[in-house]
Symmetry: C2
Subunit: 419 residues, 2 copies
C-alpha cells in the first residue's frame, strides 16, 4: 500500500531561488522513499507584505474581495516555481491553485473557512507519479470567487488536505526547529519538545509561542490530524503534535519511544508581554453583571483573555481581566461606560504587566504543580497579581519588568529536573 | 440603448501606483459618459520579465504549463489593483481572471488560442453598474488548466471580448500616440495616421512598426472588429483601424471626416533592419526544387520573409530569400544541405541588409507608385538588391548602411506632398 505525505513550506523556506531548490530536494527525498507527495506552499518571502503595501498605495482601504484576488497570486507564483525546481531534479510535478484543486470555502473574504475539498484531481496526478504542489492560503467559493484563509492559512490548507487525502503524515516546515519548552531567546537551556498534545500546542500558541496559529491547531485537533513541525533548514526531527501517543505510534515514524515515554508533567513555560490589565472595583454582586460587561466588550470587538472574579464576602466584588495592549484605550472607554451603568466603582488599568504560564496535560492529575510554580516566583520575590487556571495550564499576571526572570526561574524549577 | 466600450491598457500604462490611478480616471470617464465599460489589462511594467528571470534562475528550461501558471499572476495583480483604484474614485468595479470570465482556449501553453468566451458573468456585473476588469493574456482550457496567449495576448483578449460582447468600440491604450507614416525617431516629419485599414496595419506590423502584434490585427480583421490605438499618456485621438471607412462612420466616433477622405495612396513607409539575405546560385530550373528548399527550412522552424526567384533564360536560376537575422546560422546550414541535394551551386549570405517598404491599399489601382519609390532611392544613389511586391506593399532590400536615408527620402517623396 502506498504511503502519502503532505508537506507544507512557509515563505521564509522559499525566500530565494536557492531555498526553493532546497525545498525541491526535500520534497523529492520523500518521492525517492516511495511516498506519494503533496506539497503546500506559502508565498515567497515577503511577497504578501509587498503586495499589501502596493495595494495600500492605491487605496488605503482596499476591498476584501480584491485583496484576495491580489494576495492569492503570491502562492500561485510559489507553486509554479517549485514545480520547475522539481522538474530540474528529474521528477514529475504539477502545480495547482486552490481553485484548481477544488478547495471550496465560504464567502468570507480574507478569512474564509474551508467547506470542502475535492480530491479527484490531486489523486489523478498522484496516480501518474506526479508530485502535486498546491497553493496554500487560498480557496474558491461556490460562485468561483477567489478567497484567502487568513493568517496561518497555508498550515490550514496542509492540514485539511492531509485529512481529506487520508495522509499518513503531515509535516509543517518552518524556520524554527520545533516547539520549545520555553522561548530559547530568553531561556538558554530550553529544550525542543519531541511531542506535545494538541491541547498543549493550543495553549502555547495562544500564550505566545509563535510557531503556528491557534486556528490551524484547532482544525488539527478537531479532525485528529497528527502533524510534525520542523525546520526546513536542518534535517533534525522537530515536534510531533497529536491527540495521543498511540496515534503517533500508528504512524511508525522516527519519534523515539524513549522521548515519548518521558511523561513530563509540564510541557512548557510561556510568556506573553503583550497584555494589559483592567480592574473594576466594587462591582455589585448580583447575577448578570459580568454578562453585561463582557457582552459590551465583545460588541466593540475586544477579545478578552484572562478573567478573574473572586468570591465575594460583601455585596461587592472586584473583576479583573486582561486583553491585548493595543485594545486598552477602546476597552477602558467601554468598561467605564458599563461600570457607571451597573453602579460599580473605580476602573483601574495597568499596561506594565506580563503573563507567565505553565502548560501540560499531565498536570491535571498531579497535585502540587501550582504550588511549585508560585514557590518559584516567591523565591525570586516576584509578586503575583492575578492567577487563573485551566485543566492544562496555570497563568500568573506579574509586573512586566520581572517577566524574563520569572520565565527562567519557572523553567528551571520544572523542566531542567525532568531532563 | 446602452453603449459598451472595451478598453485595453498595456504594462507601461500601469507601471506604478500613479499610473494605475491615471488609468482608473480614464476608465471612470467612460462610465461617467454612460458607457458600460470592460477594461482589459496587462501585467504591471516589467512584471512578466521579472517572473521569467526568476523562473530561469530555477530551471533554464521551464515547463510551458508551469510558465503559464507563473506568468498569469502578473495580470491578476493588475486587475485587482485597478479595481481598488476605481473603488477609490467612488465607482463599482470587479476584477476577473481569464478563468473566472470563462475565456476558454485550446491546450497550447504559452501560445494558446481563444476557443470561446462566456459573456454571462461579465454581463451580470455590467447590469449591476460595475466596471468589469479582465486579466488579459490568459485563459483556461476545458480541463481548467491556466494558459497564456503569447505575445500581444492582452490585445487579443480585448479584441475577442469586444467581438463577443458586441462592443461599440474597442480602444487599445499604449505608450505611443498611434500609428505613424514612418518611425518618428528616424523621420522627423512623420505624421500620425488618423485611420488605416486592417491590411495596411498587418503589413506595417509585420514590417516592423511595433505598435501591435500581427496576430491581434489578424483577429480584428477576421472578425471585423474596428479598434482605436492611442496613448494612455495624452488625450489625443490615435489611429483607428477598420475594414472600411463606413464601418468607422457607423461608430459615430470622433474621427474627422476630412481626415478620413484624404485617400492617400501610400499610408506609410516602414523599415526592418532585422533581416538577413541568403542566395542560392545556379539552382536547376525544374519543378519541385523551390518546394524542397522551403519545406526543409520550415521543418527546422525558420520563418522566411521575402522570396525572389527571377525568370530563368538558361537551365539554372538564382533563388534569394530573407529571414530574421537570428535564424541565419541555422538557415545557412539547412540551405547548404538542400543545395547539395538538388545539385545547386554556391550559397551566399548577407547580414548587412535592410528592408524598406511602402504600404497602402490605394496603390494597387495606381500605376507609377513603384517607379516613384525606385526613383527616390536612385536619387540618393542607393542600390536595390531585391524587389518584392504585394497588392498593398512594395519592398526593397538595400544595404543596411543606407537604411535611414532610404526611409527619409521615400517618406518625403510620397507623404509630405500628400499633406
Amino acid at each position: 500500500m502506498r504511503k502519502l505525505v503532505v508537506l507544507k513550506f512557509g515563505g521564509s523556506s522559499l525566500a530565494n531561488p536557492n531555498r526553493i531548490k532546497n525545498v525541491a530536494r526535500r520534497v523529492v527525498d520523500y518521492k525517492k522513499q516511495n511516498f506519494d507527495v503533496v506539497t503546500v506552499v506559502s508565498a515567497l518571502g515577503d511577497t504578501t507584505d509587498d503586495l499589501i503595501s502596493l495595494a495600500v498605495q492605491i487605496n488605503s482601504n482596499p476591498s476584501e474581495r480584491e485583496l484576495d484576488m491580489l494576495l492569492s497570486t503570491g502562492e500561485q507564483i510559489s507553486v509554479s516555481l517549485l514545480a520547475m525546481a522539481i522538474h530540474k531534479l528529474g521528477f514529475n510535478a504539477v502545480s495547482l491553485t486552490g481553485a484548481q484543486v477544488g478547495i471550496v470555502t465560504d464567502t468570507h473574504h480574507t478569512r474564509a473557512r474551508i467547506v470542502s475539498i475535492d480530491c479527484h484531481r490531486i489523486n489523478k496526478h498522484l496516480k501518474n507519479e506526479s508530485i502535486v504542489i498546491v497553493a496554500g492560503f487560498q480557496g474558491v467559493t461556490q460562485e468561483n470567487e477567489i478567497t484567502t484563509l487568513g493568517r496561518g492559512g497555508s498550515d490550514l490548507t496542509a492540514l485539511a488536505l492531509a485529512k481529506a487525502l487520508k495522509a499518513n503524515l503531515c509535516e509543517i516546515y518552518t524556520d524554527v526547529d520545533g516547539v520549545f519548552s520555553a522561548d530559547p531567546r530568553i531561556v538558554k537551556n530550553a529544550v525542543k519538545l519531541p511531542f506535545i498534545y494538541y491541547e498543549e500546542m493550543l495553549e502555547m500558541a495562544s500564550l505566545g509561542a509563535q510557531v503556528m496559529q491557534v486556528r490551524s491547531v484547532e482544525v488539527a485537533k478537531k479532525f485528529n490530524i497528527p502533524f510534525h513541525v520542523r525546520s526546513s533548514f536542518s534535517n533534525n526531527s522537530g515536534t510531533f503534535i497529536a491527540g495521543s501517543i498511540s496515534d503517533l505510534n500508528k504512524l511508525k515514524l522516527q519519534v523515539k519511544e524513549a522521548e515519548m515515554m518521558e511523561g513530563a508533567l509540564i510541557r512548557g513555560v510561556t510568556l506573553n508581554k503583550n497584555e494589559a490589565k483592567i480592574t473594576i472595583c466594587d462591582v455589585p454582586d448580583r447575577p448578570g453583571v459580568a454578562a453585561k460587561l463582557f457582552k459590551h466588550l465583545s460588541r466593540v470587538d475586544i477579545n478578552v483573555d484572562m478573567i478573574v472574579q473572586n468570591v465575594s464576602h460583601t455585596r461587592q466584588t472586584d473583576i479583573s481581566f486582561t486583553l491585548s495592549k493595543n485594545d486598552l484605550p477602546k476597552a477602558l472607554k467601554a468598561t467605564k461606560t458599563v461600570a457607571k451603568e451597573i453602579g460599580a466603582g473605580e476602573v483601574l488599568s495597568d499596561l506594565e504587566v506580563a503573563r507567565v504560564s505553565i502548560v501540560g496535560v499531565g498536570m491535571r492529575s498531579h497535585p502540587g504543580v501550582a504550588a511549585k510554580m508560585f514557590e518559584a516566583l516567591a523565591y525570586q520575590k516576584i509578586n503575583i497579581e492575578m492567577i487563573s487556571t485551566s485543566e492544562i495550564s496555570i497563568s500568573c499576571i506579574i509586573q512586566r519588568k520581572f517577566a524574563d526572570k520569572a520565565l527562567r526561574v519557572i523553567h528551571s524549577k520544572f523542566l531542567n529536573r525532568a531532563k
